[in-house]
Amino acid sequence: MSQTKRFLAVTVAAVTALGMVGACSKETAGTKPAADGQINLVVDTFGDFGYKALVAQYQKDHPNVKVELRSVQKLDDYKPKLTQYLAAGTGAGDVVALEEGILNEFKTQPQNFVNLLDHGAADQQANFLPWKWELGKAGADGPLIGLGTDVGGLAVCYRKDLFAKAGLPTDRDAVSKLWPGWDEFISTGKKFTAASTGAKGFVDSVTTSFSAMLSQAGETNFYDRDNKLIADSNPVVKQAWDTSMKMVSEGISAKVPTWSKDWEAGFKNGSFAVTMCPSWMLGIIKTNSGAANTGKWDVAAVPGGGGNWGGSWLAVPAQSKHPKEAYELAKFLTTPESHVGAFKEAGPLPSSPKALDDPAFLALTNDYFSNAPVGKIFGEGAKSLKPVVLGPKHQAVKERAFEPAMQAVEQGKLTSDKAWQQALKTAVKEAK
């Protein structure tokens, strides 16, 4: 019966261990009941927003407020969990970060969030870039859902060594002058691909160029001001599409979809010479390219003048028990001073014009990218953007209708015309 005894012993041990579970949880603000007058606020973010020092300061200034920072590494994990909290009506933080893509989808259901204008947010408007402020609202006259944190100002990252091989200039100012507009960008690409450099193409893929063109257009994209889908009739969309398709037919695309393995490895192996890079992408390029390629990349201006990819907002879910205090915290975390503070701690690009003019920010260079003055380049790009009206399902239409259709053309699976029809058909489904 030794078998039985062993089984029992293990069971007892396991049950005892279960009893000690309490000892295995970290004790933090969120788990303890609040003392008299004490307010506990939870901030949900993904990645690193650079809020540790700011929160410590806020707690010092507000002794009755205790702030817990929760974060997960990946946006892909963060989004479904936040959705689940909202669907179940409980569990979300008092202040939650909404990335561009999530924000646009959540704006279709604004009742899940506190209208920050109700708490007097209107007086903050001057602190933000106009387009960043506009995107925080659900509709032109809708409620204000989010206060801007960072932006993903666009630039072009290019490989100096490959440019030199193709006989192109390598100095960043000269490179920026090569492509005032997208047509010049394409002709530069043709010059590059004509030379033998070992690269698969000039630019990694066309989808990011498409996004950049849309964000430069200003006014409207897939939706008009009344939230009607106009993807099929808006000349802005068709023109961006045609230019992108020209990039494919002229053979300057290396046809590696963003985030794929070929894309990641392509940085290190010189599969392409140019990629659209928002400020947060620099770290990714550095990681993917590796130490051996230090100094080979540089940063130039984006064709057509400025563009944006990514960036986040802070919102207060309607389920928060302390909406007023949560708003105060969100306001504090998005002041120009806090933008600079967060930037110094973790590097997200400010969306406040005042922060963008801060000398500390302007002086920023990146030694991996040949000491490029990234603060100046990205700051100017971000400031030159015009506000765009994005309809309720803008992100879905772009990422699930247009981008796959463009990639299908790159793969040689569809002709440009067929792909356009396919994109419009899917867009209708996504917009439903």
């Binding site: 261990a17 579970v21 970290k26 690193d48 929760r70 990946k74 669907a87 192996n269 947060w280 990714i284």
Partner: protein
């Protein structure tokens, strides 16, 4: 050693060759994971990829444990508790119910077995939200019960043990024990359980692994204060990109307990042939 005389069980160099090939294919990715864990982050994009370990393991592991937010040590302890309790319970209740379905006669037996099998056919992804709402209602969200109690039984386990018991346990054996005056539970404990041991060990192993590697539900219902090990892994925050060296170092560490468990259960699985040949 009469077992050796059965030609089906004889080994030849070909046997070893096939096994070695199979194991190399199986093991390579985990070996490669260890390689990355011992190097700096950017080797992942080398073509061809590096195949030999480097010297950065200590630094990578150090970063894992230094990350206060991820609470990796808590995660390990919590996962050990959760997986052990779930495994013991699943093995116990599955062998018990599997035996009942295979060898005992009772009204509604087939219908109930069908229901159990059917429970496995439900796609789980959509059930997360209602289950989460339930946990909030009974106040278990954020505590370990939430990832233990719903998994104390498993349709998979019951079905597996039922199929196994149907073949492995002869009716005469059960009848004989019954006539000896054994209660049904005694029969289970003294007669059935020993026969089921190899399969129960397989079930235990699979259950432990599955519970250990479970991410979506713990992530949905727990938070950073009470993480399981997979949750800790996802909390290893970096700014915008994945620090693979750190993540793989942590993953390799998180895999170590599984090997310990395997050796523990592995001995039970080996039972069968060898033991039989010596005793009889």
């Amino acid at each position: 050693m009469r077992a050796a005389s059965i030609r089906l069980w004889r080994t030849s160099p070909a046997t070893y060759l096939a096994l070695v090939v199979g194991c190399v294919i199986s093991i390579f990715p985990i070996y490669w994971m260890v390689v990355v864990a011992t190097r700096s982050n950017d080797v992942i994009n080398d073509v061809p990829p590096p195949l030999l370990p480097g010297g950065e393991l200590g630094a990578n592991v150090g970063r894992v444990f230094a990350n206060e937010h991820a609470a990796f040590a808590y995660g390990l302890v919590n996962s050990l508790v959760v997986s052990s309790v779930v495994t013991l319970s699943v093995v116990f209740f599955s062998t018990l119910a599997g035996f009942a379905f295979a060898k005992l006669r009772f009204r509604g037996r087939n219908a109930m077995l069908l229901i159990i099998v059917a429970t496995m056919m439900v796609p789980v992804q959509l059930g997360l939200i209602p289950l989460y709402m339930l946990m909030v209602k009974i106040g278990w969200n954020g505590s370990l019960q939430a990832v233990i109690v719903p998994f104390l039984v498993s349709g998979f386990g019951v079905f597996m043990m039922r199929q196994y018991a149907a073949e492995a346990i002869s009716d005469e054996l059960v009848e004989a024990a019954r006539v000896d005056g054994c209660s049904t539970f005694r029969i289970y404990w003294n007669v059935v359980l020993p026969v089921l041991r190899p399969a129960a060990a397989v079930l235990g192993l699979l259950t432990f692994m599955q519970t250990w590697n479970e991410f979506i539900w713990p992530y949905a219902v727990l938070d950073a204060n009470t993480p399981t090990v997979q949750l800790s892994l996802s909390l290893l925050a970096t700014a915008y990109y994945t620090d693979y060296a750190q993540v793989f170092a942590a993953t390799a560490l998180a895999t170590l307990p599984l090997f310990a468990v395997f050796i523990l259960f592995g001995r039970q699985i080996i039972g069968g042939i060898m033991e039989g040949s010596i005793k009889s």
